[in-house]
């Protein structure tokens, strides 16, 4: 026992030899222990770093979409273009060719530009929506006619991308979205202080558009809100009622067993299958309108219902039986004990489950593709019967668009979507913390 770490030498007793063997084994075992621990740390680290990379990639691509390049134009509002007969009728003002004013103004700024192609390239620097911006200003204040209006209008998405550094300035001209002459014009505008990056209002106030600089998420957001309203107003009462029945009143027999297995299964059925159901039943059989938030909401209701029922049952289960028994003891009927005593105590838990279900529904895309909520819809929907898209579907549509400017818009839309999800989950967590009760 003088030197425990020394290898077994001849002449040692049996006990000493065993001890040495164990000591040698210990080293191995400790190494295995450290290794195992390390693998675990690596696994957790990998998982977290995936999350980090994902978030970083989305935010780094998307933050620039909240700013958009605008061009300052000093547009003379010529009466002979807008309202030649000086009637100041709303219809006349509305249908006037404001785009021509913008083009005229651009030609005046660059008098050296001649030739159809060059002019066309020049017009392309400014968004197609510029005319509408001027129209809105004129409609709001017809007295402007005859004066010169200084207005910031959105630049074309290619100009925007160039200034944000996403399009190369160099390289063979034929491969570039922005040609040499356009580069010269842009640099001149920039030198005159006519280009500026400002907060991208259109992104929040417009519906979808074929022009990236005019496209926004308002239409998709409204579609999502309408869809979720339908989902919430159906799935919450249905889910609570089903949970109450199954947990409190259902007799234990084959039927209720079937319902229970069924609900557990439905929770794991792929979402796209719910889309097929919606297509076959709601659209083909009941002939409900295609692409409408109503149908989307119905499909998502069926999808989130299992989540809400399962959460609701758990919440009911956590209410101690003594409450129920006390109510029954003073003469309440089972239904009264349920409605007035157990349900109010279980409601916060049910609400938490519902919010989590809604968060699931908010991010769901595949079933909405099946029921036609993928159409290109530029108008902002006004109700649950109007054709619309939803935020995740809009992300899918933009992700497929080839224009470079849609990459940052897609990422920005994802940031908005994630923000909503984070908000909903935070509310759910706070609700749980606030009302969590230990009996």
């Amino acid at each position: 026992m003088t030197n425990p770490t020394s290898p077994a030498a001849p002449g040692q007793s049996r006990g000493e030899r065993n001890f040495a063997r164990v000591q040698a084994g210990m080293k191995k075992r400790r190494a295995a222990e450290t290794r195992f621990r390390l693998y675990g740390m690596i696994a957790v680290g990998l998982g977290l770093s995936f999350l980090l990379v994902l978030m970083f990639s989305i935010v780094s691509k998307g933050y620039s979409a909240f700013l958009q390049t605008y061009v300052r134009l000093d547009v003379p509002l010529l009466e002979e273009v807008i309202d030649p007969e000086q009637t100041r009728q709303l219809d006349t003002l509305r249908s006037a060719d404001y785009g021509a004013l913008v083009k005229q103004n651009l030609r005046d700024m660059f008098p050296e530009v001649t030739g159809r192609r060059d002019k066309f390239a020049l017009y392309n620097l400014v968004s197609n929506g510029a005319g509408f911006d001027i129209r809105d200003r004129v409609l709001a204040n017809p007295d402007l006619i005859g004066t010169t209006l200084s207005i910031w209008v959105a630049a074309d998405d290619d100009v925007d991308m160039l200034l944000k550094g996403h399009i190369e300035r160099t390289g063979p001209e034929a491969d570039r979205r922005i040609k040499d002459n356009q580069l010269a014009w842009i640099d001149k505008l920039n030198a005159e202080g006519r280009l500026e990056k400002r907060f991208n209002v259109a992104f929040f106030s417009n519906g979808d558009s074929r022009d990236p600089e005019l496209s926004g998420i308002r239409g998709a957001l409204m579609g999502t809100i309408f869809t979720l309203i339908v989902t919430l107003s159906l799935s919450f009462p249905l889910g609570v009622a089903a949970a109450v029945y199954l947990e409190e009143f259902a007799p234990k027999n084959r039927w209720t067993d079937l319902i229970e297995v069924n609900i557990n299964n439905l929770a794991a059925v792929p979402s796209i299958v719910f889309g097929l159901l919606g297509l076959a039943v709601f659209i083909n059989f009941f002939e409900l309108p295609r692409s409408a938030p109503l149908v989307g909401g119905l499909v998502l209701t069926l999808m989130t219902l299992p989540t809400i029922i399962i959460a609701g049952r758990a919440a009911l289960k956590s209410v101690p039986p003594s409450i129920r028994e006390a109510a029954l003891g003073i003469g309440a009927s089972p239904m009264q004990a349920m409605l007035y005593h157990v349900l109010p105590l279980a409601l916060p838990g049910m609400l938490t489950g519902t919010i989590i279900g809604m968060a699931q529904a908010l991010g769901e895309t595949a079933p909405l593709l099946m029921i036609g909520m993928v159409a290109f819809i530029a108008d902002v929907p006004q109700g649950i019967f109007d054709p619309s898209t939803a935020l995740p579907v809009q992300i899918y549509l933009w992700a497929d668009s080839p224009e470079r400017a849609y990459v940052e818009r897609t990422s920005a839309a994802i940031m908005i979507l994630l923000a909503f999800l984070a908000l909903m989950n935070t509310v759910a967590v706070l609700l749980r913390k606030r009302f969590e009760q230990r009996w």
Binding site: F36, V44, V269, L276, A399
Partner: protein, 461 residues
Amino acid sequence: MTQTPILVLLLLALSSAAFYFGRKRAFQVAGGQIRKLHSLPGYYGLYVAIWAALPALLVLGVWLSMEGSLITQMVVSTLPASVQDLGPDKLNLVVNDIRNLVVGNIVSGTPDAAMQAAADRYRELQSISKLALFGVTLAVAAIAGWLAFSRIAPHHRARNGVERIVMYVLIACSLVAILTTVGIVLSVLFESIRFFRAVPVSEFLFGLDWSPQIAMRADQAGSSGAFGAVPLFAGTLLITLIAMIIAVPIGLMSAFYLAEYASRRVRAIAKPLLEVLAGIPTVVYGFFAALTVAPFIRDSGSILGLDVASESALAAGLVMGVMIIPFVSSLSDDVINAVPQSLRDGAYGMGATRSETVRQVIFPAALPGIVGAILLAVSRAIGETMIVVMAAGLAANLTANPLEAVTTVTVQIVTLLVGDQEFDSPKTLAAFALGLMLFLVTLVLNVLALHIVRKYREQYD
């Protein structure tokens, strides 16, 4: 349609009035002494209110769902025989035209006299139906309300009546789940049967060739359309396998680490953060896979001299694996925590190190639950849609090379059903057959997994 909300509001108003009068009546029959009543006065009010509203609302619902098809049938029966003999497809077009005429939309072709007459008849029937609906529902509400009202007496068991109705409503709500399953099964089954009439089951299940394009003209090249789904199954399996290779080791190891090694603080931070991965919408993963991961894999592949397709199975599988990590880890975490502490203590008492305890005691004990968790994760991966729609290919390649583009069952369902559809071509029906396969496979996996997990839980409870 605008009158339906008015009618509903009217019914609700009627029902509120019924509540008020029912409650008042209860006081009246009791002569002001509530203890003579069987139930609280409010229950008498509720009883009358429910009877005033519920039957009328049911009538309203049935009426609205039947109205369209009944009127259409009545109009069609008045059409000239030459039109009625056109066959279902063309008749449908005619009916559509008539409906458009009614609403005032643009009609294909100029409407002839018969059509105009039919449209007029349609409009006439519609207005009759509207009036009748108003009359019938209000009459039903009034009669049922009155009957309930007249039954109010001190000995009348109003509370039991109300509670019975509430119970029926609760039962109806929990039947929605059953109806959903039935709806899913029926909707995919019927269309699949129609599909299998055109394409034999054996060809669908064992065919090696998938090109679902149906020719517009008979003489078009490649016109037949091939519906052999094996390449789709193989593609789905390949991507699922890649996802599992990522998710199972990482998920399991992090579950073991978080359950057995991590300090409370680390666990409280890392676990919710990992679960964030499960909460991110799949469309976000799809975007990430298509725009960040796939180009990265392609570029690093070309550095190594490998030829990687831009929609490689590897990219989609990798990202899907990341998405699945929290499923594996949190489900395994549950089962690991369910292993009784006595087993751990026993192992430590024998001198085992932590990792030995995990590997030789906890892992075997938790194995059934872990298998269940992995099965659930596989089912999730098979049914996952958006990641593969955005990051995997469309062409049906029968290959085991993860660097090539493959397509999956869900991708094909989406591509077959998004866009123009006609419900009599095998092309669209094929999507439902694929949906049926998907539903069946995930169902079997889920039932198996839930069974294993449940059985396992009972073992230690």
